[in-house]
């Protein structure tokens, strides 16, 4: 593995960890929060709810594997 690839892999594992789906879910939720806020719709509730769901499904995957 090249040094650049190893460097990129290190940071990926450091920040994202072993569940990239959870990270993708959070990114989507933040995007949706920004879209709602831009449309002047109350959006503070969206991220806590998304965290609950993301964590639940992430744990289910971890337990079943």
């Amino acid at each position: 593995m090249s040094r650049v690839a190893a460097f990129g892999r290190f940071w990926w594992e450091f920040v994202v960890g072993d569940d990239w789906l959870a990270a993708a879910g959070i990114a989507l939720a933040i995007g949706a929060t920004a879209a709602l806020a831009a449309a002047r719709i109350t959006a503070w509730w969206l991220l806590p709810l998304s965290v609950l769901l993301v964590l639940h499904f992430s744990l289910r995957r971890a337990v079943s594997s």
């Binding site: 959070i26 933040i30 709602l36 965290v51």
Partner: protein, 275 residues
């Protein structure tokens, strides 16, 4: 006397204000989170430095620790001022997202440990494993140092320290006070290093698993709070909502632990019935 951090923020001995608005809650969480996260990482780094020192010699181990500390200081010195010039909303959404993803990793592991699906972190066991590996490694000398001892200590301190630097810089810059976050980290450093030098053994009695759970909750709480604000949404009750988010994350975690413990029990009962 209050000290101005930028045009919006000011800080004195007990309070941090934003445009004159009291955010003492955030300041307390900031210091506490930086302290807890740093203490956990430093306990882990200490275990590695001790194993390298006992097995390969203190000179190589302490030189590795010192070299890693210098690298970390350079990283903090370079990134710290750079973060302060980023607009606060862009910073909050970027840092909030990172903290949330990072915090969920901690929280998921902590919930799996608390429910019995993952082994508890045990410093004595980690120390024994590191010690065995360090003792069996071949001796290679470079620059007058035992290279295995040096690199083991260097990598251990650098990797654990990077997490501390990441938390201090992100928490500090988003809250408008890197020095306040650094106070929490420095207190942890003094405490862990002091106790480590005194007992010269892994700090196995530190309630590490509980602390990791608390750090996961703090990181996730701050991540939700800042990412939401950075995305342009406004919290009801402004900064006081941080307490509500904290309560929500605690309740969610407790529910998930209870749910998984029940699942674990059912699996064990089913396995016992089959046997």
């Amino acid at each position: 006397m209050a000290r101005s951090l930028d045009s919006h923020w000011s800080i004195d001995a007990t309070t941090v204000t934003f445009n004159g608005r009291l955010t003492r809650v955030s300041a307390v969480f900031l210091v506490l989170s930086a302290f807890l996260a740093s203490a956990v990482e430093m306990v882990e780094a200490l275990t590695i430095v001790l194993a390298a020192g006992v097995a390969r010699g203190w000179r190589s181990s302490l030189t590795g620790m010192g070299a890693a500390t210098v690298v970390l200081a350079v990283v903090v010195a370079a990134l710290g001022p750079a973060l302060t010039v980023i607009p606060i909303n862009a910073l909050r959404v970027a840092v909030g997202s990172l903290l949330l993803v990072f915090g969920l990793q901690w929280l998921r592991k902590a919930i799996l440990r608390a429910s019995g699906f993952k082994a508890l972190h045990d410093e004595d066991s980690v120390f024994a494993t590191e010690l065995e590996q360090a003792r069996s490694a071949t001796h290679v000398e470079r620059a007058g140092l035992d290279w295995y001892g040096f690199t083991l200590s260097f990598k251990g301190v650098l990797l654990e320290g990077l997490e501390v630097a990441f938390i201090v810089l992100t928490f500090g810059s988003t809250q408008g006070s890197i020095p306040l976050a650094a106070v929490g980290a420095a207190t942890a450093l003094v405490l862990v290093a002091g106790v480590g030098v005194t007992v010269r053994a892994p700090l196995a009695r530190v309630p590490e698993n509980t602390m990791k759970f608390a750090v996961g909750i703090m990181l996730t709480t701050f991540g939700i709070f800042w990412a939401t604000e950075g995305a342009g949404a406004r919290w009801p009750g402004s900064d006081a909502a941080l307490l509500g988010v904290l309560a929500f994350v605690c309740a969610t975690s407790a529910l998930l632990v209870a749910h998984l413990r029940g699942q674990k029990r059912r699996v064990l009962v089913a396995a016992g019935t089959e046997a």
